[in-house]
Symmetry: C2
Subunit: 215 residues, 2 copies
DNA sequence: GTCTATAGCAGGATAGAC
DNA sequence: GTCTATCCTGCTATAGAC
């Protein structure tokens, strides 16, 4: 028996395997048979535990993706706490590190971003939950952190565009590893990730319309 | 009969319909039946004209996606020609406008970016072609345009990271319209697209490590 | 080139034994 | 809770009439 089977319930294995496969191939490309084979359980287990394939997907998203997002947010909070101030420089660095190096393994991170990209291009019921419970609060929190450091004339939309631009870079450099690797000519090793964080911080920081004394 | 049927061959209708559906739903989620129904032709037409479903997809990508990319690149060239200089400000503005407002309709643009996002998350044979024939040349062209305006110490990797960052924003604001709309609280109308281009130009321009006399 | 008919298979879901 | 066996639907692909 595979080590996956030790000390885990069938339900947990199903959720874990489903996450990996759905992230890699997309909902429609994965069959229930494939999932149950990989989870070393019976075909009927999905229907027994979750009712049907779609409900398995939704449970997976709620129980695994959302908790991962929570871990990333916690990591951001810790990073920021270590900075002792909440200047834009500290905020962006804490954010970029939480997302690019962060608490997830490389594989977890890749899956995490693949799943959210899939939800963005073809939303399911999970998407509404993610936007309302994770993205909106995060972006509004960031907006409030940046707000006092931006020029007075900057309205909420422009502040959010700045936040979204930072997010877009992080998202892109995480999910588009393949083309990025091909274009820059080498793999995503640790030194490169450090340079990436540095680049994102520098690029974003200069790009934001900051007051002069708030660097 | 639908107006789609006038003056177009079955082959052309198949390619057009296939592009829309593959972009909207993804390769596995679209059946040949769905395509042939939407194209008002017989089920067997796909196999007659393209051999099988996969080859239809590849032909669609080559004949429709690549030519769209070509139109965008041409638009970028025209925009830049109107600027009379090739300063980073002109380059970024030409690029952002070509991609966000550009020669494509809103629907075409959405489809175009959805397709490339799908190729990035789950590459097929089309991906290699796109990277080699479209992305690499574009990014290297941009890199050469920016290079003389960047500080001497900036190596090729950092220059490319700047280009990729600009690209990431454009990509994100095109394919992630749904969450972006929800977060900023209104739709993607023309005035917003203008503000978006302006934001991207300002954000990217400030973010790049430019020499002082090259704005 | 376009059609119908169908082969052949894989998918989701369930019933019922254990 | 887990298994086997099976139903039924929908898919791709092809053969062959027109």
């Amino acid at each position: 028996m595979s080590p996956d089977n030790k000390g885990t319930t069938t339900r947990e294995r199903l959720l874990k395997v489903a996450e990996t496969l759905f992230a890699q191939k997309g909902y429609d490309a994965v069959s229930v048979r494939e999932i149950t084979n990989a989870a070393h359980c019976n075909l009927a287990a999905v229907n027994y535990h979750f009712g049907n394939k779609k409900t398995l997907y939704l449970h997976m998203f709620r129980e695994r993706w959302m908790s991962r997002a929570q871990r990333i947010r916690a990591c951001f909070g810790e990073n920021l706490a270590h900075c002792a101030d909440t200047s834009p420089a500290s905020v962006i660095k804490s954010l970029a590190e939480a997302l690019i190096k962060g608490p997830l393994t490389d594989e977890e991170r890749l899956r995490h971003f693949q799943l959210i990209i899939r939800e963005m291009t073809k939303p399911t019921e999970a998407f509404e939950i993610v936007v309302e419970e994770t993205m909106k609060p995060s972006f509004e929190g960031l907006e409030q952190l940046f707000r006092p450091c931006l020029h007075e004339g900057i309205d909420e939309e422009r502040t959010l565009l700045n936040v979204l631009s930072i997010f877009s870079m992080v998202l892109y450099f995480n999910f588009a590893r393949l083309p990025v690797s091909k274009i820059i000519g080498h793999a995503y090793d640790e030194p490169f990730k450090d340079r990436l964080v540095q680049h994102i911080v520098q690029f974003s920081l200069s790009g934001m319309p900051l007051k002069e004394n708030t660097l």
